[in-house]
């Protein structure tokens, strides 16, 4: 009886410390979205439909194109797409400097997703500051494919 009690207490302590530790690690290291922003692949995005509104305001002031990224936490390809494609140094540099970035969580922003006809993640939509869709990039494309597109869309908007 004593041994079993001891084992139980030991396991309880183990479980609680594991739970506490992993909870804190997730909060401090793996926050994907807070109230204002979404953080994916080391890039900061405005989030949700209110973020999109704000994004258009900023885009109009600074005459920048808007890129909307549709993702989901369960999406097997998104994580790799974020690190390898969006996180590619060349792509990332252009995105952060010359774009207004907005992220849509397919589990949360269902209305926006269906409004833009997006059914699966990952999915990118490029728009001019007035909200006209310039380009759609469905699926987990690689950086070589995406780089010319981000460059071309940026130049199109700049030249207007």
């Amino acid at each position: 009886m004593k041994t079993k009690k001891l084992l139980t207490i030991l396991v309880l302590i183990l479980i609680i410390s594991f739970a506490y530790e992993s909870y804190n690690i997730a909060l401090s290291k793996f926050t994907l979205s807070d109230k204002e922003n979404t953080y994916l692949g080391g890039i900061k995005f405005y989030r949700s439909d209110f973020g999109l509104e704000k994004g258009f305001q900023v885009a109009q002031q600074e005459n920048k194109p808007v890129m909307v990224y549709f993702w989901a936490i369960w999406c097997q390809y998104c994580a790799k797409f974020q690190t390898d494609t969006l996180g590619n140094p060349d792509v990332k540099k252009i995105l952060e400097q010359d774009y207004v970035l907005v992220a849509m969580d397919l589990d949360v922003d269902r209305d926006v997703s269906s409004r833009y006809g997006v059914g699966y993640p990952p999915y990118l939509i490029f728009m001019d500051p007035n909200g006209n869709v310039l380009q759609r990039v469905p699926g987990a494309v690689d950086a070589n494919y995406l780089l010319p597109i981000v460059t071309q869309v940026r130049d199109t908007v700049r030249s207007k």
Partner: protein, 758 residues
């Protein structure tokens, strides 16, 4: 408006309530007025629910789209088997399936026990109460909802066709995975009910009454999860056979605690004071975790690839889970404090009970790791409005935390299975040696055979603790794996020596199940660490019939590319088949060509027109519209125009276009191919690409060899004369499948023995 189907459910609730009241009166006041109605009412309810399930199946078979559920999950062009499978494609239907199986188990209880003992009656009370609760849930989310209940549907309107089953579900596994899961969930009711009765009344027959049901649940739940794994393995994008998706993890948790329960029960049935609290608590917890799994799927709070959306019954399920948890905890605590503090002689740590108890705790720890990993992100989301990940890559969290405990579990398996009081000292020495070997091998350095893949970009982003555990060499699993195998073999030899038939068969069953554990872990570890992947293999259509070298000693031969409709409807695209145009474009020059297809890609040329990719059953090609078009991707088009010269692949310049209704919802592209390694054929078969409702599905070519290695080729749909492939060589994965079969075979042997002994 109450539909016919709903009225059956209402009558079921009424009849089963009579049975429940009858039993309660008998139990509490010893009043017999309703007693003789109890069994007939239960049987009648079971009959009615059987009829209700047949009724919804009938609506699916005849495509009665005036029922919302049928409209949502079926369509006329589906083959019959998928129309039937549509009954369990969504939440309303699976609730009905669940209730039906609960009442089948209630009927079994009524027939076998005749409610002769208090134990049987009390177990039936809890079973019926659970059944009625789930019938009410079914009524709230009924599959019999008529479309005329929606205000925007005019009376008398009959939809011409249903919206169709999601393309990824049109698949053999859809016909087996959901029924296995839900039968497993529902069968958990009786072990739970007996456990609660035992906690309340100390009735010692509880374990025997629920024994076969617990094994049955273990079999069905386990096979349901396994079949889900096979399905995910065969469909691209679901992350292989196990991805730690919240829904699959949620169904795995009760299976773990149920496994713990079966171990506890094995000792409890020999000595009723052993695990007198642990065993019933594990049974209760397993049922609560089944409810939790239902919440994960049906509350809309958990974000999963199994997207079912938010529903009305999530909170009711949550309430039932909370109530059951509180009741079980209170009863468990009460029993704990009631239990006389037995002054046993101190036999030290090393005795069978303690070692088994360690095993039970290990199952609980493993279950908790999975539970916590899917739960706390949702907790943070609800309380702080933040969305968090559990690790840089979700599966890393579950893998690193589960790995050390899996090794300890294997050590416990090796030790327990052979434990003999007389040989204790020798056995402890062996255990300590193997444990020491496991620890030492953890530090071995290899190229990349670690708990976490060091080459993955996610590894560097993990916190220090995770990197540390992730750097344990997976070689460390082999000492305990070999130890467990050796122990099982030794045990099997002993069982084989037993002369009386039943214990021998049962022993063989037990040994087979434990071999299953070894097989599954071996297959999982080797296949996930040593898979070779070659991405972006593009074979031009023109190379059909020729061996194409793709590098690293591999080559591929495409034998054939064909497109067919899943339902045999092949000529839904008017005009010339695109493949004919592509095959000989020059013969169409100077004349006007008509082609049809579905828009699969769309590019605006910035004022110079619109470039549209059309795909029909035979292939796809680009057409140019002079201006902008209003159609979007997925719509059908019929166009007439001329082939433009001067391009590598033919492009059609559109003169006239018209919208085309694509009535055919499911199209399959098949590519037949052979894979060679150093000019030796290592695999052949067909890879499929299916387009239909809810996107596309990719069903790879999987060719298994005798060594357990799979050649796995993903085909992502022909486009512009290119066949895009991904080649994987996956070793040992078939060991995992074999292990699952051993699980099933072993537990069936164990069950077969019991049923003969009555």
């Amino acid at each position: 408006m109450i539909t016919f189907g709903d009225s059956i459910l209402y009558v079921s609730v009424f009849l089963s309530a009579i049975a429940l009241v009858g039993l309660i009166l008998k139990e509490l006041k010893n009043i017999d007025i309703l007693t003789r109605f109890v069994s007939p009412m239960i049987l009648l309810t079971t009959g009615l629910l059987t009829f209700a399930y047949l009724l919804i199946t009938y609506y699916f078979v005849v495509s009665d789209f005036t029922y919302e559920y049928v409209w949502q999950y079926s369509s006329r062009d589906l083959p019959m088997i998928y129309k039937i499978a549509g009954t369990w494609a969504g939440q309303p239907g699976t609730y009905l399936l669940w209730v039906w199986v609960i009442f089948i188990s209630a009927a079994w209880l009524a027939q076998t026990t005749k409610h002769a003992t208090p134990l049987a009656r009390r177990t039936q009370i809890i079973t019926l109460a659970t059944g009625i609760y789930f019938t009410v849930l079914t009524l709230i989310q009924t599959p019999f909802k008529s479309i005329y209940e929606f205000s925007n549907v005019p009376p008398g309107f009959v939809p011409p066709d249903g919206s169709g089953l999601n393309a990824l579900l049109v698949n053999f596994w859809m016909t087996v995975h959901p029924p296995l899961m839900f039968i497993g969930y529902a069968a958990m009711t009786i072990p739970f009910a007996t456990a609660i009765v035992y906690l309340l009344t100390k009735d010692e027959g509880w374990e025997e009454l629920g024994r076969q049901w617990a094994r049955f649940t273990w079999l069905f739940l386990g096979m349901g999860i396994a079949v889900g794994g096979v399905w995910a393995y065969l469909v691209l994008g679901w992350g292989g056979f196990w991805a730690w998706d919240p829904v699959e993890t949620a169904s795995f948790i009760p299976w773990l605690t149920l496994t713990g329960y079966l171990h506890a029960a094995a000792l409890h049935r020999k000595n009723k004071t052993t695990f007198s609290i642990a065993a019933p608590m594990l049974a209760a917890v397993s049922f609560i975790l089944v409810l939790y799994a239902a919440i994960v799927v049906r509350s809309g709070l958990f974000n999963s690839v199994h997207a079912f959306g938010e529903t009305s019954t999530g909170s009711l399920l949550l309430i039932s889970a909370l109530v059951t948890t509180i009741v079980s905890l209170v009863l468990g605590m009460r029993r704990y404090f009631e239990e006389p503090e037995t002054v046993e002689e101190d036999r030290g740590f090393w005795n069978k009970t303690n070692i088994f108890y360690t095993t039970l705790l290990l199952f609980v720890v493993l279950a908790f790791i999975s539970f916590w990993g899917i739960t706390f992100p949702v907790f943070i989301q609800l309380t702080q409005g933040l969305k968090v990940g559990v690790a840089s890559d979700t599966k890393n969290f579950f893998n690193i935390w589960s790995y050390p405990f899996t090794i300890i579990l294997l050590l416990a398996l090796g030790f327990c299975l052979n434990y003999k009081e007389s040989e204790k000292d020798k056995q402890i020495k062996t255990l300590v040696t193997v444990a020491a070997l496991s620890v030492i091998t953890m530090f071995l350095r290899t190229e990349n055979f670690y708990v976490l893949d060091h080459a993955s970009p996610f590894f560097v982003r993990e916190p220090t603790v995770y990197k540390l555990i992730g750097s344990i060499s997976v070689i460390s699993i082999f000492p305990s794996l070999i130890y467990a195998t050796w122990a099982t073999v030794k045990r099997l030899q002993e069982y084989l020596r037993i002369t009386s038939l039943r214990p021998r068969i049962k022993g063989i069953g037990i040994a087979i199940v434990h071999f299953g554990v070894v097989f599954i872990l071996f297959g999982a570890v080797i296949s996930s660490n040593f898979t070779y992947t070659m991405n972006n293999v593009n074979i031009p259509l023109s190379a059909k019939g020729n061996l194409v070298d793709i590098g690293s000693g591999y080559s591929v031969k495409v034998l054939d590319l064909s497109t067919s409709s899943l339902t045999g409807n092949t000529d839904s695209y008017p005009g010339t088949p695109i493949a004919d145009v592509l095959a000989n474009p020059s013969s169409f020059e100077g004349t006007s060509v008509k082609i049809s297809g579905k828009i699969t890609n769309l590019n605006s040329l910035q004022g110079h027109g619109t470039l549209v990719e059309l795909t029909d059953n035979s292939g796809s090609m680009w057409v140019v519209f002079p201006g902008n078009i209003t159609e979007t991707i997925g719509a059908g088009l019929t166009v007439t125009g001329n082939i433009m010269s001067g391009f590598d692949t033919p492009v059609l310049s559109v003169v006239d276009g018209d919208r085309l209704d694509i009535s055919d919802k499911y199209n399959v592209q098949n590519v037949k191919l052979e894979v060679y390694q150093n000019n030796r054929k290592i695999g052949s078969g067909v890879a499929e690409y299916l387009q239909g409702k809810g996107g596309s599905g990719t069903f790879p070519l999987v060719d298994s060899s005798i060594t357990g290695t799979d050649v796995y080729v993903i085909f992502q749909g022909e486009s512009g004369g290119i066949i895009p492939l991904t080649l994987k060589i996956i070793p040992a994965v078939n060991f995992a499948w074999a292990g699952i079969l051993l699980f099933a075979f072993g537990i069936i042997l164990i069950m077969a023995v019991k049923s003969r002994s009555g």
